[in-house]
Subunit: 321 residues, 2 copies
């Protein structure tokens, strides 16, 4: 991540890491260990970066509460990953064993709950208002997971259903990050809304690229097994687009609708999807969303932080991990 | 629950139910359904009752925020039950199918997370200070679950280990209920601490009785399978006491330490434990704790609410469900 958005926010992100490391220490050593394992295993820190960059771009100066909120967002995001991996039976996360594989399902459910509590603690001590944003995002995350499960292995899923799913799954927490940063900088409500909408769209594009990488990515750089979404019958945009292919759609549908798959089926589906225009349509879609949403930043005066937000958005649409 | 503590708080508890019913409505119908299923299936509402009775006993008048906090405590308590049932593979909860058995593990994990978020939302809008109490309780709940897992099927568990486990599992959230009620009534810090300690002890006694009922209770009145704790190798006080029996301890230990059990083993263990003095020691212990902790209420002036708190504590130590 040698991009300019990162260099500008890297010092702030180090402070966020310190807050995280400090707050996850508990009186039970194994609980602390699981939290450290999950939060120490990397990740792009997109949510705290969004929070801090928007805070700075809105002219915020004393960032102490923004550090707390950034840490909270990262902790809560990781809590959802711990629980999602249990739901999805995902083996790998960021190139390492998923927490539940290493520490048992029971301990991982509890550790995730504990991380939620820590996240709300940090936000609660920073701002009342932001607890409200966070709860809205958390509720949307729950609804998103439900919508996703409703369309597993179901070829009737449309692009509109997919957008609703990833709104909850990804976009709303990133939106919360931006709105929190703007709010803490004392921005007007129209700026809070506009930066929130920018971040929301960035989150949508982020998830589209993530889903494209599950088909066309490289295991070494993503740190995840490729084809996991197909294995689990998850309704993702590359599949939705590939189902529309006149030649290959029928076989892709058979694989997508099969309740149980072999990895040979998954490999076949990946090869077929790659033969269609699905991946390039996904990446074009993500780039288009980013391009349109950058205009929402017109509410902000020019600054290196505003330019970094543009960089961050463009990085998200054009990454390989 | 025709006891006097209940009649005095029943109107307040109805308002708490209204807050709960209102807040769990989400845009996803199935998510709302799961929350209603879990929260509508009864339960003793001990936490909101404790919050409201302490609030009234401390002279609190406008109870609006106490209703919100009471609702939050009940929602968070139920969120932990949904997750615990997954961990413990419990089939029945309050006489009905456990949520994960009815709706899948994945949906139940998500619904539990959503309920945590709602709980923090309600508390966050009521009071900053109480978010702090709640986070401490949530962290202790996590640690308690970890301590419990550490001593599953392990006959080295002592009464002191057990006390530490149930502190997190039960006592800290009930303590939080009382402290929140006192705080919202504007009580002094010594009153907040004393009512909190009273409630903490009440919670300890509550869990001891609960664990005795798992051995000596009646399935029809408890709404749970008897012997579940033994089946899962949970370190509970009746087992700790029964292990000390010179005649039957050896066989009870064999059963407790076996990693996998048949229900015939569980029935044998129940019969053996009932032959020891373990159940009566547990119930005496719970009564002794309640008797001692009632003195902590001396900080409160006399009122029908104070007397109701005494009733509530005595009910907890002397119940059959």
């Amino acid at each position: 991540m040698g991009t300019s958005w990162y260099s500008l926010v890297s010092k702030d992100l180090k402070t966020v890491e310190d807050v995280v490391a400090n707050v996850i220490r508990s009186e039970n050593p194994e609980l602390t260990e699981i939290c450290s394992y999950v939060l120490g295993s990397g990740g792009k820190r997109v949510r705290p970066a969004m929070c801090l960059l928007v805070f700075r771009a809105c002219g915020g100066i004393d960032a102490e509460r923004a550090f707390d909120v950034g840490a909270a967002l990262e902790i809560i995001h990781n809590a959802t990953l711990v629980h999602d991996d249990i739901n999805d039976e995902g083996d790998l996360r960021r190139g390492a064993k998923a927490a539940y594989k290493r520490y048992s399902i029971g301990k991982s459910i509890v550790a995730g709950d504990y991380m939620f509590a820590l996240g709300f603690k940090l936000v609660g001590s920073a701002s009342h208002e932001i607890v409200g944003y966070l709860v809205e995002a958390s509720a949307a995350m729950g609804a998103g997971e439900f919508n996703q499960k409703d369309y597993e292995h179901d070829a009737r899923v449309t692009e509109a259903h997919y957008m609703k799913i990833i709104e909850g799954k990804t976009a709303r927490l990133i939106e919360c990050a931006a709105k929190s940063g703007a709010f803490l900088a004392g921005a007007d409500s129209d700026v809070i809304e506009a930066t929130g909408e920018f971040a929301y769209n960035t989150g949508i594009a982020f998830q589209i690229v993530d889903d494209a990488l599950d088909v066309a990515g490289d295991e070494a750089s993503t740190g995840k097994n490729i084809g996991n979404d197909i294995m689990e019958g998850k309704p993702t945009l590359p599949i939705i687009y590939a189902l529309q292919d006149s030649l290959r759609g029928k076989r892709i549908r058979e694989i997508f609708e099969a309740p149980v798959l072999e990895w040979s089926d998954v490999r076949e589906a990946i090869a077929l999807i790659k033969e269609t225009d699905a991946i390039s349509r996904c990446l074009d879609k993500a780039k288009g969303i980013i391009k349109d949403s950058i205009r929402l930043l017109d509410v902000l005066g020019d600054s290196e932080y505003k330019r970094a937000l543009v960089d961050l958005a463009e990085y998200i649409a054009d990454r390989d991990r």
